[in-house]
Amino acid sequence: MSKIYIKMMTDRAYEHLKRNLGVIANKIKDNDDNSWVLDEFIDYPFVEKKYEIEDFVLEENKESSDKKLDFQNSVTLYNALKNLPTFIITNEKFWLWLYFEKFYKVTKSMMEIKGVSTVRDHWMFGQGIRRGLMFGVLSRCFFRVSLTIDESRKDKFELTKWIVELPERYRNLTWRVYSSEKHLVRGIISGEKKAVEKIGFENASFYPSIAKYVSRIGSVKFLDVIEEKDIETLVYDKMIEYYNTIKK
């Protein structure tokens, strides 16, 4: 594939989207292609930037139901974008180019538009930058890989595959500030995974409690410096404790 320059949504177009969210949500819902976008904005709503990436394609995946495809798309997205500067990859206007121009059809296929809230929360970063990145239809795919890839494992995507299979295993962590520390996310996911493998069944209702448990550790201890193995052990022990309560 050839190289392309990335684009970002212009300030003007972004402001227009935020101001006319109801209208935009309906247009996305009613249109399977993005030919309406240029009419809506009057001016071309994207601006090319100096950063180059290898061009890439993503496959349509109805409501992300095909987990294997979800994983493949996530890895493709990560590999294509991983070398961009952090301030670009975390900028909502960059993702809006992907949503409204480059991957409109794919984005729309991955999540049913149930109403304005779907567009606000999963396309438009309506709940702030962290939640926007971790909730966004495509941005969350990128961060699932970025936060769990582990070069020290035989299969570096072992943890990525595990969370794509059931996003609840990881979702609750990502809203918390400590999830910016990749070694903590990997350690927590590892602890959860080991416990599930040890017990032999899974109760997804424990995952929000684990996210809170780690926050509690951080209320006294210096969470950032806790080694990956140590947080893994702490989470594993807590998960086993939770499972023992339901066994009894």
Partner: protein, 307 residues
Amino acid sequence: MQVRSKLFPYPVLNHNIINSSYFNKIFELSFERVDSKNGILLRNIKFKTDSNYILDLFRNGLIGVKCVIECSYTVFRRTYELSTEDGNNILLDKNDFDGKVEISSFAYAKENFILFSDEFSDEYKGMEFEIDKYDLIAINDGFIAKFEHLETEENVAKSIFNITFDNNIEEDGMYEVKYEGGKKINIYLSRNEYQNYKVVYNSVGFKEVFFSMLLVPVLTEAFTTIKKLTELDTFSDIEDICTQYGWFYSIKYRYNQLKNHELTKDDILEWSPIQIAQEILGKPFATSLCNILDVVKNNKEGDSDNE
């Protein structure tokens, strides 16, 4: 990472004396700040303390000290090892940040040990505490650096204003303005008036007319608000204004160019909003008047020719 006034079940040396359980001791970051186009270099970064007890714990390997760099907008968070010696540098790479970046430092336990010192404040004197690995021992909430990726600095109007349309605005000649909560002042027109504006804006010689019609009054109102809030002592400094009104960065930048000195709160208290708005936008009135005059003259000549 900001600990602020959080309480701990054991004595913690906090650089903010009000929250410290040590008597009159400091714990701080020391470095030389070197600004460059790639970011900020914190040269020879190290920690300093006058607590002999904390220094002993560090020298004996019972505690470590780390600097935490965090930017909520780019979800960046990373720690860096510190010592008491020169020779360590941290580069805050501009590519990693946007907006506010918090730089703080913490001492933490590297293993379990008993905390006991005659440096504790009176309420803890003579008491021992069991410390676990990773417990916080000393805190400095540090300082905040700012990073901006301004790309339109050369175009004053574009760097301050964002003009767009709202399908819900009636076509009756009214427009709406929003100053707060964004990097730019947003001006909303009706769809039809936005299309007309685009034609005028892109016509040679009419940009200044548009500046006089729309941008000068909008900026005047914004400056009046900023001046009133400054009079009420709402802002600690110019950076504080920029944090609350992102577009003010461009004003500061342009003002410094025009006046050849750094904008201060005193300047704002003394300025005339309508005058400074005209200056910032390149005094567009005279140019726009001349342009309209040319059009009027051309029309008259056309009328004479027709006669």
